[in-house]
Symmetry: C2
Subunit: 147 residues, 2 copies
């Protein structure tokens, strides 16, 4: 949001509008934070950031918005190998799927893209006649710095 309080329209928001979803002040804030987040946010981290822009926003709204985005296939839900408890992490779905590498020692999360991964998905779809909507790959282990 700029100094005048204008909110630039972002892809996620556009996507929701085009699907006939009602945009509220809260949804706009949440969706933009997810869109612009560098890392992976869990519901509470998302809520805390949102409170900076709207102190009255409720965790329930955060959960409901995440459910909405999941339903529309606009976010991926991750567990990051449960390195810190049972929460879920979210990221805006990108055009290209990627793998998450979670270091069990330092907690760093790396992302990894690979054409082999794309091939693997193709193989699954062909061999099993399974239509993949979402795919999650998470590896736990030791990163280069820690091993």
């Amino acid at each position: 949001m700029d100094a005048e309080g204008r909110v630039a329209r972002r892809p996620l928001e556009q996507e929701l509008v085009s699907r006939g979803v009602r945009m509220t002040r809260q949804r706009r804030i949440l969706v933009r934070i997810i869109q612009e987040a560098a890392g992976h946010l869990d519901a509470i981290a998302l809520w805390e950031r949102a409170k900076g822009e709207d102190a009255s926003i409720n965790t329930v709204t955060v959960y409901r918005t995440l459910t909405l985005l999941k339903k529309h296939g606009l976010v991926d839900e991750l567990d990051l190998m449960h390195l810190e408890g049972g929460k879920h992490y979210y990221e805006a779905k990108t055009t290209r799927d990627h793998i998450h590498l979670a270091c069990v020692k330092c907690g760093r999360i790396q992302e990894f893209e690979s054409s082999l991964f794309e091939k693997l998905k193709g193989q699954i779809e062909r061999d099993r006649q399974f239509r993949i909507d979402t795919v999650r790959v998470e590896a736990g282990g030791l990163c280069d710095r820690c091993k």
Copy 2:
């Protein structure tokens, strides 16, 4: 367990004993159920099966045993795309990693092995100098019967 109540020693149990882990009646039961389970059990399903053999077994013991097995890297923890809530599923770690395909419509879980997957893991370890201890691949979508 046969008619005399003897419990055959199973790989998981052997593995624990060889690591100096104390084997209790409860652990023997739980570990055998996991070992022999056809599908993927969550903590409560595991507990319910265990109660058939020892009515006094407690859910806390189930969770503690699962934590123990995870710590020793003897089970894999799955989420199966959270098709039914936030619980976790467990399976004895096999020699070969496999991919889980979860049908969002019928809930069926299929497993898929592939040398491409093995290659992908190798690529990650080489490119990122990341030592993979555990890896989880889950795909959600429509199975051949449902699409």
